[in-house]
Amino acid sequence: MEQLIQTAIIGLSNGLIYALVALGYTLVYGIIELINFAHGSVFMLGSMLALTLFLALGIHGSMPVGVILLAILLVLLVTMTVTATLNVAIERVAYRPLRHAPKLAPLISAIGMDFVLQNVGLLWKGPANQSIENIVPPTNVLTTVLGLQTGLEISYKQLMVAAVTIPLLVALTWFVTRTRQGKAMRATAQDPDTSGLMGINVNRTIAITFLIGGALAGAAGTVQILFNNTTVWNLGFRFGLNAFTSAVLGGIGNLPGAVLGGLILGMINAYSDRYLAAQWTNAIVFAVLIGILVFRPTGLLGQQLAERA
């Protein structure tokens, strides 16, 4: 029983990172109906940038807590800014000129962009895994801080994932549902032409959507490097497909759905790794993806047209 719960905890913390990336897919799909293949690689470049920054700042786990927290906040901000800018640039170069082309044209362009970004990562860091020492300690909070007698383990690392991810999710929900720009995003998602006639700058709204998606990918990259300590040039492909599967699982275009899908997918991954065999995990994820697309293409929560952004 303890093992079952422990696996769920591991799954949920990975699932939160999936959710951050999945939101990028779902936001973009919601607004221009494009599977942004390059998104996974934006996340990968974000993790590489975060790794580089942590190493450049010389941050390590034995430093005072305040310094570490400040460093994480700084790296998070820089990474999010860079990946957001990158994502907007990608939209400008590879997708905007194809806005009125047949639907498969931007998809193919996105695949090309994905390969370009992967190779940027390869040129930058080489083909080997890039690792970093623990910055947030993997100490068990339950036994050491709370003094509980339990076999379960929730580490500072896992709390860090939640502490970064959950505020971002809340902020995103607030932005999309409560602000003027969020309203413009929802309107553009419903009908770009009519939105344009109503005075919404459609191109700018789409660019802002990519900006937000890119920022979330950068945050996910930073969290990934802090949580899993490693990154590699083709990380974005597998991770991106997992995140895309999450988005589809929850109902693509649906923001709460992406988060739910991410959490479920993180659990599926964790349980498959633990109770089946790790080498089958990818096949299982894809089988889930195919199964959902075939039997319930709208996902678990369905496409809430009024809310999709």
Partner: protein, 479 residues
């Protein structure tokens, strides 16, 4: 634009109208071959310079393997500015050409984006590996192979495996397509991508299987060779000539024959009733359905038939190399084939051929050669960074840029298909309203389409088929 009652058009349509059934298909291919001299004369009358140039190019292409390997090889370093492709490179260029021709049926003709085409390549390769190797060492079955009787394993001659691999791939294509082809274009792309990832994982992991179900009992069974794959696989063999990896030009010509037959089949498919149904679905699925096209079945056939070409290519790859492993079948290979047909010209069979030859040449020969040059240059100027730069490992950087740039600037490819070009440059109807310039463009597009439709109507009349008859089943691979 000639009228549809022009006797020449009706005659041309009659010639191109396909016959159904396997025998009909063989007859079609035979027709196509025997019709070549006549077609050549007609083409010569229309454009003698172009025809002669193309003929010389084709002749050079056919003679190239012999020239390259036996005549030019010693001089190549000094005579040519670019490196020559060796026999292995040529075989792979042709294997990929077969795949590009097949994927063009799926993407180019029917407009379905298949991102997991490599799965069918893998299925073809493993079909050859299972049926022509000592892998099933508990069995002994030899069929028309040059392996001595009683040798462990199943050994079936390549000439049986080749069509069998096509059928296996088509079967799996139909099996995957049946539930998924109702999906929208981008969802289909993702499902196929998933399939392309699952198949190699299954081939990699089905080793040490323990399984019991009724009479079937497996204990630590090695089903697929695991990460090591399967080898040795028997090379193709005809009258004692072996077409394996050390066979010199022989396997190149075998691959050439396979590409040639693939070209003929693809060309026949394009001009068949089925091909016209594909074009209709590609342009407007709803309208096609209204006109009585059974869309799911038509798409399924495109998917299955397209997959069968990859089956051919896979069985050739395995038999030629004498080994196959699951690592050979990556997502990037699927994308490579997609790039080939986009570069060559989506919907154009000859574009797919040229795209495949060019891309594999760049990937396998040119980049390695440039890398050597750069290493030499780097050492000569004592620059470590240049000496250790290997452009071949950044091939997908180049291909990715090509993909983005092609979509942006020339989506119809280098050798465009006229009908496809019209579609790609056509503004969607709701965007066209209210803009005179766009309307003009749309008008040009629809004129080209109208012409193409007129041609199709003409061949429809020629084939005298009933409009409500079900689409013909070109090789019986239907559901």
């Amino acid at each position: 634009m000639s009228g549809i009652d022009d006797p020449r058009i009706i005659e041309a349509a009659r010639r191109e109208a396909p016959r159904s059934g396997v025998l009909g298909w063989l007859a079609n291919i035979l027709d196509a071959i025997t019709g070549i001299p006549g077609k050549w004369r007609e083409s010569f009358r229309r454009g003698p310079v172009r025809t002669v140039a193309l003929t010389v190019l084709l002749g050079l292409g056919v003679a190239y393997p012999i020239l390259a390997l036996y005549v030019l090889a010693p001089f190549s370093r000094n005579v040519f500015p670019l490196p020559l492709a060796g026999d292995t490179d040529l075989v792979f260029m042709l294997i990929f050409a077969t795949m590009a021709i097949g994927l063009n049926v799926v993407i180019g003709f029917a407009g379905l984006l298949d991102l997991g085409y490599v799965a069918f390549y893998a299925l073809g390769a493993y079909t050859a590996a299972f049926l022509a190797s000592p892998h099933w060492s508990g069995l002994s079955f030899v069929l028309l192979s040059d392996v001595p009787p009683g040798f462990p394993g199943i050994h079936i001659a390549f000439w049986f495996i080749l069509p069998l691999a096509a059928i296996v791939a088509a079967f799996w294509g139909a099996l995957l397509g049946a539930p998924t082809l109702r999906l929208r274009g981008d969802y289909l792309a993702i499902v196929t991508l998933g399939f392309g990832e699952i198949v190699p994982v299954i081939f990699k992991n089905l080793v040490g299987v323990n399984f019991e179900l009724g009479p079937i009992k497996l204990v630590d069974a090695n089903l697929t060779g695991g990460p090591l794959g399967i080898n040795p696989i028997d090379p193709p063999n005809l009258f004692g000539i072996k077409f394996g990896a050390v066979g010199g030009v022989a396997p190149v010509y075998l691959a050439m024959v396979i590409v040639f037959v693939s070209l003929l089949i693809a060309r026949n498919l394009e001009h068949s009733r089925m091909g016209r149904a594909w074009a209709a679905i590609r342009e407007d699925e709803t309208a096609a359905e209204m006109m009585g096209v059974n869309t799911v079945r038509t798409k399924l056939l495109a998917f299955a038939l397209g997959a069968s070409f990859a089956g051919l290519a896979g069985s050739l790859q395995a038999s030629y190399q004498g080994a196959t492993t699951s690592d050979f079948f990556q997502f990037s290979t699927s994308i490579l084939v997609v790039i080939m047909i986009i570069l060559g010209g989506i919907g154009n069979i000859y574009g797919a051929l040229v795209g495949a030859l060019a891309l594999v040449y760049v990937d396998k020969v040119l980049l390695a050669w440039i890398g050597q040059r750069m290493q030499g240059f780097g050492r000569s100027i004592d620059n470590d960074a240049i000496a250790h730069l290997n452009p071949a490992s950044f091939n997908f950087l180049i291909f990715g840029i090509v993909l983005v740039a092609m979509m942006r600037f020339r989506p119809e490819g280098l050798i465009p298909n006229r009908q496809r070009t019209a579609e790609l440059h056509e503004a969607p109807p709701d965007q066209a309203i209210g803009s005179a310039a766009v309307l003009g463009e749309a008008a040009i597009a629809s004129e080209a389409q109208a012409e193409a439709i007129a041609e199709e109507v003409a061949s429809e009349q020629g084939s005298a088929s009933q409009p409500d008859a079900p689409p013909r089943d070109p090789d019986g691979a239907g559901p």
